[in-house]
Homo-oligomer: 443 residues x 2
C-alpha cells in the first residue's frame, strides 16, 4: 500500500493518488503517513478531503502529527483542528510541545478552545480526561419523530449517535435510549415511555481503568459521565475504553518485568530513555540480591566441607522464583480484573499453600531421584527435597501476600511481580537450604 502511494507520488500522478486515497480506510492512510518523510507526508495529506483529513490526522502517531503541523500553514492547520472531535483535540493538545499547543489553540474555534481548556483540567487518569462532550441529548417529553429530527440536526459532528441521553432541565441524566429502540418504536411514542431509566454512569473523577472494566462488563458502546451534582457532562466511547484497556495491559507487562512503564513505542524510545526506564529496578534488585550473598558467606564452612552444596544454589533459587512468580502473576491479574478482592486473602492463601504442597512434593521426588542416580547420595536428596518443599510453600505464600499488601497500601500490585518476589525468595531459600543442610548432614 505504502509503496503504491510513494510510486504515484514520485510520478506526480496526483489525480490517481487522490482517487485511490478516497477508497482507503482512514487508519491505513494514517499508518502510511506515520512512516513518510515530512514533504511526502504533507503532499499526501493535502490531497485528502477535509472530512477525511481530520479523521486521518487524529489516528496518526504523535511524532508524525508534530512533524505535519510544522509544515502546515495556519489556515490548513485550522481546518484540521476545527474538524477534530473534541476528545481527539484534547489528546492532541496534551501530547504536543508547548509552542505547538499555542498555535493549535489559536487556530481552534473559540467554543472549541474553551472546551479543550475545560477538559484539560481533569486529572490524567480520570474519566473526565478521556470523555467527549459531543453527545445527543433528548428530553423525555419528545416523541420518537422529534428525537430523530434532533439526531439529524445535531448528529453530523458527533462521534457516536447510537446511544442518546435523556436529561431534565438541570441537565440531570434521567434516562438513555438507543437508536435501535428508537427505530423499532412508533414515531409518535414519547421518549419517556421507551427510555431505560436505570442508567449506569460514572463520575468525571472515576479512574479510567475502572471505566474500561465497566465497558467490558456491560458491553456498552458509550458510557455517560456525570459531575458532582449528577449532571451529564460528557460520554466516553468504546474505542477510547479499548485504548485504555490496551494501555493498562501494556503498563502491567512492563511493571511486572521490573521496568518503569513508558507510553512511547519501542522503536521511538531512545537508547538512553530505555536505559533510564530499566536501571532503577535493576539497581534496587541487584543491591537486594547482595543480601543473599552476605547470607551465603555465613555458611562458608558448610560448603567448604561439602562443595557440592554450592551446585544446588541456582536450581533452588530458580525454582523458588518461578513458583513465586506463578502465584504473584495470578494474584496481580486477579486483583486487576477485580476477580480477587482484598478480603479474599486467606482464601487465596489456603488455595496456594495446597498447590504448593502438591507441586513441592512432585519437584522433590523428581529431583531426589535425579540426585540419587547422579551422586549416589540419599541424604543430599532429602536435604534438597525438603528445601524444595519449604521454598515452594514460602514462595507461593509470598506471591500471594505481597501483591495483596501492595493493594492494601494503595500501591500498584504489579510491582510485586516476579523480579521482586524472586529476590526475596532467593534470600529465604538460601537460608532454608543451609539450615536444613547443616542440621541433616551435621556439617
Amino acid at each position: 500500500m505504502k509503496e503504491k502511494i510513494l510510486e504515484l507520488l514520485n510520478n506526480k500522478r496526483y489525480a490517481e493518488l487522490k482517487m485511490s486515497l478516497e477508497t482507503m480506510n482512514h487508519a491505513d492512510i494514517s499508518d502510511c503517513l506515520d512512516d513518510f518523510p515530512e514533504e511526502e507526508m504533507a503532499l499526501v495529506f493535502r490531497l485528502l478531503d477535509k472530512d477525511d483529513a481530520a479523521e486521518v490526522f487524529s489516528r496518526m502517531e504523535s511524532e508524525a502529527q508534530e512533524k505535519l503541523i510544522q509544515v502546515l500553514s495556519d489556515r490548513e492547520l485550522s481546518e484540521v483542528v476545527q474538524h477534530l472531535f473534541l476528545d481527539d483535540a484534547v489528546d492532541l493538545v496534551s501530547e504536543m510541545p508547548a509552542a505547538l499547543v499555542k498555535r493549535i489553540l489559536k487556530t481552534a474555534k473559540p467554543a472549541q478552545r474553551k472546551w479543550i481548556n475545560e477538559l484539560l483540567k481533569y486529572p490524567e487518569d480520570s474519566a473526565g480526561s478521556i470523555m467527549t462532550i459531543e453527545l445527543i441529548d433528548l428530553k423525555k417529553d419528545m416523541t420518537v419523530a422529534q428525537a430523530f429530527d434532533r439526531i439529524r440536526k445535531t448528529g453530523v459532528d458527533k462521534e457516536t449517535i447510537y446511544t442518546c441521553y435523556v436529561t431534565d432541565e438541570q441537565r440531570h441524566l434521567v434516562g438513555v435510549v438507543t437508536v435501535k429502540t428508537l427505530l423499532l418504536s412508533q414515531m409518535d411514542q414519547k421518549i419517556e415511555s421507551i427510555m431505560e431509566t436505570a442508567v449506569i454512569n460514572v463520575s468525571t473523577h472515576e479512574d479510567k481503568e475502572t471505566v474500561a472494566r465497566m465497558f467490558d462488563k456491560y458491553d456498552f458502546l458509550a458510557m455517560p459521565v456525570v459531575d458532582m451534582e449528577e449532571r451529564l457532562v460528557g460520554i466516553i466511547t468504546i474505542d477510547d475504553a479499548v485504548d485504555v484497556m490496551q494501555e493498562e495491559a501494556a503498563e502491567d507487562f512492563e511493571i511486572m518485568a521490573a521496568m518503569k512503564p513508558s507510553e512511547e513505542s519501542y522503536f521511538k524510545t531512545s537508547v538512553l530513555a530505555h536505559a533510564k526506564n530499566r536501571i532503577v529496578w535493576l539497581l534496587v534488585l541487584m543491591l537486594s540480591a547482595a543480601i543473599t550473598g552476605t547470607i551465603i558467606t555465613h555458611y562458608e564452612e558448610a560448603f567448604a566441607s561439602l562443595p557440592i552444596l554450592v551446585a544446588f544454589i541456582p536450581m533452588l533459587m530458580d525454582t523458588g522464583g518461578n513458583c513465586g512468580s506463578q502465584t504473584s502473576t495470578l494474584i496481580i491479574r486477579g486483583l486487576a480484573t477485580e476477580e480477587i478482592e482484598l478480603h479474599d486473602v486467606m482464601k487465596c492463601w489456603w488455595k496456594e499453600i495446597r498447590v504448593a504442597l502438591v507441586v513441592g512434593v512432585i519437584l522433590a521426588l523428581v529431583n531426589g531421584t535425579r540426585i540419587v542416580i547422579q551422586y549416589q547420595n540419599f541424604m543430599l536428596a532429602v536435604v534438597i527435597g525438603l528445601t524444595l518443599i519449604f521454598t515452594t510453600c514460602l514462595s507461593k505464600s509470598l506471591g500471594c501476600f505481597l501483591p495483596m499488601l501492595a493493594k492494601w497500601a494503595h500501591m500498584d500490585p504489579a510491582i510485586m511481580a516476579s523480579p521482586l518476589i524472586t529476590t526475596i525468595v532467593d534470600c529465604c531459600s538460601i537460608l532454608i537450604y543451609f539450615n536444613v543442610a547443616v542440621q541433616l548432614l551435621k556439617i
Copy 2:
C-alpha cells in the same frame, strides 16, 4: 445489591423483587446469580421477563449456567435458548457437558439448531468461531426509506443494527453503510450513492487475535466475515472482540509466568488443576537449572581457594535474569501488537546491545564501589564488574533473539519470557563469571 435480593427473597416479597430486577442492569443480575445457590438462582431467574432472561443468562458464568439448566424445565430452557443471540448459543453449546448439549439442542428451534451446528465447525481460534450470522443486509438499489423499513422489520433480534452490509445477488459484500449515514441522508437517496465501498473484512479462518487487533486499529463496531468465495457469512461485534483481547492478554501473562494458560477463573480452578497447570514448566526449568549446577561443580577448585566467589552467584544470576526478562517482555509485547516484526531483528538487537552497555556499565560501577568498600578488594570488583557487563549484553541479546526465534518457528513468543530466559542466562552467566575470575585472579 446481592444482599438486597436475598433479603427480598427470604421474606418472599416476590412482587417487590420483580420490580427491582426490572430496574437492574443485566450484567449486574448475572453477577448476583453466579453466586447464588441453585434454588435461589432458579427463583430469581423465573421472576425475570422473557427478553431479560436470555440476556442475563448469556452473561452468566458457565458453571452457573450449567447449574441453572439442570433445574429448569424443558419448556423454560427452550424459552431461554430461543431468545439467545446465535453467537451466545454457540458459546453455550461449546462450554456445556455433552449430556446438557443434547438437551439444549433439542429445545432450540430447527433453524437455530442448524446454524449452531454450522458455526461449531469453525476452528476454535478462528473468526468463524466468534461470529454471529444475525446481521442487517441491504441491496444497493434500495432507497434509504426502504433500508429503514428493512431494519425495522428484521432488527428486533439482531445483536447490532448500526452497521448494515450491502450484498449482491450472490451474497458478495459490495459495501457498508452505517445507520448514522442513513439517518443523515435523504429518504429517497439510493443506498448505492451513500455506501462505503472500500470494505475491510476478514475471512472465516482468520485468527481471532488478528481480528481483535483490527478492531483496535479501525475503531469498528462490527467486522464483516466472508467465506472463501468472498460471500458475506457473518459479523463479529466489538464486545466479542474486546473479550478476545482480554483473553489473549490473560493468556500471555500466564504463559510468561511459566504456566499453562487456563480459561477458568482463579477460584473456580481446583487445587489439582492449578498444580497441573504449573508443574510441567517448573519441572523443565528445575532440571535445566541442574545444568548450571553441574557447571559450578567444575569450578570447585576456584571457590575452594576463594570462597567469597560463591557469595556473588545469586546477585549475578538475578541481575542477568532481570535484564533478560526486561528485554524479552518488550520484544514479546512488540511482536504481539505487531509493532515489532520478524525483519526488525537486527534493529532490535542493535538497540538492546547499546541499552545493555549503558545499563551494564552503571551496574558494574555501583556494585564495584560497594565491593571495594565492603571487601577492600579491587580485583574482585573488576571481576564482578566485567561479568555484569558481559552478562547484561548476553541476557539482553538472548531476550531479543529467543522470542524472535520462537515467532519464526511459529511458536508463541510468550514462552520465551523471564523464566526460560532466566534459566538460560544463569547457565551462561556462571560460565562467564568463573572464567573471568579464573583468568583475572589467577586461581
